[in-house]
């Protein structure tokens, strides 16, 4: 392998980690606060991708697709929290089944509206930029910035705001938090809406790299799920997991085959949990 290939590989690892982190953060925050896995996360990703598609077909600026995708995910998440998730709170297995089923329903509705065929969305940033003498996709580099904004935004929200303090209190000891006047139901509603909005945003962010179809969210959901399982409720652990497992995925895809690469995260995460049930958390 020559220097240029190593550089490209390194950039691929960083950008892949950024994408995985962005896709998984919404799932992580919902899992941390509500102790449930939102298996509709994949459908919200798909929803966000179609929101981006609609924005581009309406001739809007491709940048506008991003907030629209966030809003579509958040609105749908808010509705789902009220109608489906809230009554199942404290029954995590039922919540898994319900959100899984809901994911299928959302997928079918999207098929009904947009059809089964694969569609493409243009990238808001096209072309390449010179990185240490190598041409590299500007859009992939932009995704690193997006991940930093998402991760930094969440860290700020959790660490520096009153809502974040209340959220951490609910994560640590919900009964105690309620006794101090925190409306845990409201915190869960906000969390679920934000997490779903982030899934939508992630969907719109990844579409220029691949394509849009009603099932596009499923592989992303699997990878995000495994990353969250090895990260517990920690954003820092999620970052580490995204870099290490995402890195392994890139290496295996380029050295062996992309098909094996696609399985890397799921397999490695399962092995890791076998050896270390807490994964990267602490």
């Amino acid at each position: 392998m020559n220097g240029a290939a190593v550089l490209t590989l390194g950039l691929d690892i960083v950008t892949t980690a950024a994408i995985l982190f962005t896709v998984a953060t919404g799932l992580l925050i919902i899992f941390g606060v509500m102790k449930i896995v939102n298996f509709a996360h994949g459908a919200f990703i798909t929803l966000g991708a179609y929101a981006g598609l609609v924005a581009s077909e309406l001739g809007l600026s491709p940048w506008l697709g991003l907030p629209l995708a966030f809003l579509a995910g958040a609105a749908c998440g808010a509705l789902v929290e009220r109608c489906v998730v809230r009554p199942l709170y404290g029954r995590p297995l039922d919540a898994i089944l319900a959100t899984w089923g809901l994911g299928i329903i959302i997928g079918e509705l999207l098929t009904l509206v947009f059809g089964r065929e694969v569609q493409f969305v243009g990238s808001p940033l096209s072309g390449t930029v010179d990185v240490l003498g190598e041409a590299y996709s500007v859009y992939r580099l932009f995704l690193v910035v997006a991940a930093l904004i998402v991760g930094g935004g969440f860290a700020w929200l959790l660490g520096a705001t009153r809502l974040g303090l209340a959220t951490r209190a609910v994560i640590m000891n919900e009964d105690l938090a309620r006794g101090l006047g925190i409306n845990a139901g409201w915190v869960r509603f906000i969390t679920f809406s934000l997490g779903s909005g982030l899934a939508g945003l992630a969907g719109a962010l990844i579409t220029p790299l691949s394509s849009v179809d009603p099932n596009m969210g499923v592989p992303w959901l699997l990878n995000a799920f495994m990353l969250v399982m090895v990260s517990g409720a920690s954003l820092g652990a999620l970052l580490a997991a995204s870099v290490l497992l995402g890195g392994a995925q890139v290496v295996i895809s380029s050295l062996a085959s992309p098909i094996l690469g696609g399985l890397t995260i799921v397999v490695l995460a399962a092995l890791l949990l076998r050896v270390r049930p807490k994964g990267f958390a602490r």
Binding site: R168, A169, M172, L176, G179
Partner: protein
């Protein structure tokens, strides 16, 4: 009693079908400390948890001031001015002293002023705001717990066995602070205790709970208060 901050009438509650607290009635007025005594497992914590809203009563009514809060969720009761220092898992161990205190308030805006009151009650806490609560000693944690319960300037304070296993100097400190909160700041305090001396030194009235029922009540200034309580706790 009109003017009471807490009035509980005919309250029964428990876990599932099992009744633990049976037809308890009591009142606490502003500026008054009522101590609830009783041996282990008699239902003292269950009564406080029901007053706070963690348990749905099987029967009875709970009023805070003029408001019937019987059907209200826990966080709404806090908003009515009730603060609760539970017996177990009462602090966020991984959060700093400052964040634990902040969580006693509903808005950060009031923090500096409330911190002034904390500084007066427990000066050491104001020096150690950045320290994780879990690294404080047992006695320091209990003081933090009481400080947090007093942050909001609550109308009613529920305190569950705060002196359990503490050294005498800390017990004295807590007695002074709670006394002052009642006498000077006119808070109503319902204290659960097994420590009879502490109870008599802080409270105005006592009630003894046995198998979930109040079996004796009186003023702590009655000459025979200690004898009555001790005989009730023995049998």
């Amino acid at each position: 009693m009109s003017g009471a901050i807490l009035s509980v009438e005919g309250l029964s509650s428990g876990y599932g079908a099992a009744t633990v607290v049976r037809e308890v009635s009591l009142q606490v007025a502003p500026g008054e400390v009522l101590v609830l005594l009783g041996k282990n497992g008699m239902g003292k914590s269950t009564l406080l948890r029901t007053i706070m809203g963690y348990l749905r009563p099987h029967a009875g009514r709970i009023c805070v001031g003029a408001t019937d809060v019987t059907g209200e969720p826990v966080h709404r009761r806090a908003a009515h001015g009730v603060s609760y220092a539970p017996q177990e898992r009462a602090l966020f161990q991984d959060l700093s002293v400052r964040d634990n205190l902040r969580l006693g308030l509903s808005k950060d805006r009031d923090f500096e002023q409330a911190l002034g009151r904390v500084r007066r009650a427990f000066p050491f806490l104001a020096e150690r705001l950045a320290q994780p609560a879990g690294t404080l000693s047992g006695g320091e944690q209990k003081m933090l717990l009481v400080a947090r319960a007093l942050m909001t300037a609550p109308r009613l304070v529920l305190v569950d066995e705060v002196t359990e296993g503490l050294q005498p100097s800390v017990v004295d400190r807590l007695a002074t602070v709670l006394r002052r909160a009642a006498a000077e700041e006119r808070r109503a305090i319902l204290l659960v205790e097994q420590h009879v001396h502490f109870a008599l030194s802080v409270a105005d009235r006592y009630a003894v709970l046995k198998l979930g029922t109040i079996v004796a009540t009186g003023s702590t200034r009655d000459p025979d208060a200690q004898a009555v309580i001790e005989s009730q706790l023995r049998v």
